[in-house]
């Protein structure tokens, strides 16, 4: 089996894998951002923003980690990733809580009319 693989097997695979991760992260980010633009009311937008904050950031940082290999840079990237994964849900929760207090009404099937026209 290993005869078939090109000699520079680990570097080629790492580059391809990190490229795939980076492209996937950017794709998720753009789809989340389009969701933030197009969704009818505030609560659906919080969901769309949550997608970009966690998974898209995770894939992009994982792609960078593969490029960095086992160095201090990877430890810093892991810390950023861990910090983003812990704090962005907290921020989204605080945001939704503040929105309910300031009276943002979710768009339900009955109400139909979006609470914010855009």
């Amino acid at each position: 089996m290993d005869l078939l693989l090109p000699p520079l097997f680990p570097d080629l695979l790492l580059d391809l894998l990190s490229m795939a991760l980076l492209i996937g992260g950017v794709f998720l980010g753009i789809s989340g951002a389009v969701g933030v633009i197009r969704f009818p009311d505030f609560y659906t937008r919080v969901h769309a923003a949550g997608v970009t904050d966690t998974l898209s950031a995770g894939m992009i940082l994982a792609g960078l980690m593969l490029q960095a290999g086992f160095t201090l840079v990877t430890v810093k990237l892991a810390f950023i990733l861990l910090f983003l994964w812990l704090t962005s849900p907290v921020a989204s929760h605080a945001l939704a809580r503040a929105a309910t207090h300031t009276g943002a009404k979710p768009v339900t099937a009955t109400s139909g009319e979006p609470s914010s026209s855009n």
Partner: protein, 93 residues
């Protein structure tokens, strides 16, 4: 490859800014600014890799910390704003 990622992240930041300007309620704007800040963290990290300078990651860590604190502070202010002008609901007493 990093340049393409950086351009992709810039597109996401532009869309987030568009929501910040469009956003009817104040919480939409805070949401957009929070998303913009998180993407700035990623942009700094990718740009650090693009120019081959690993010390950019310290800036990215600092910015992630500050962005989170800023969003929580603004939300506390917004909630205080809402509490002051809102009549206390009967079930609160």
């Amino acid at each position: 490859m990093f340049a393409a990622t950086a351009i992709g992240i810039l597109v996401v930041m532009a869309l987030a800014l568009a929501r910040a300007f469009l956003g009817p309620t104040i919480c939409d704007r805070i949401l957009a600014v929070n998303m913009f800040g998180t993407k700035t963290v990623l942009l700094i990290a990718v740009y650090g890799f693009l120019t081959g300078r690993p010390d950019f990651l310290d800036i990215a860590i600092t910015y992630a910390l500050i962005n989170f604190i800023g969003v929580i502070a603004v939300l506390k202010f917004v909630e205080g704003l809402a509490d002051s002008e809102r009549q206390p609901r009967p079930d609160e007493f």
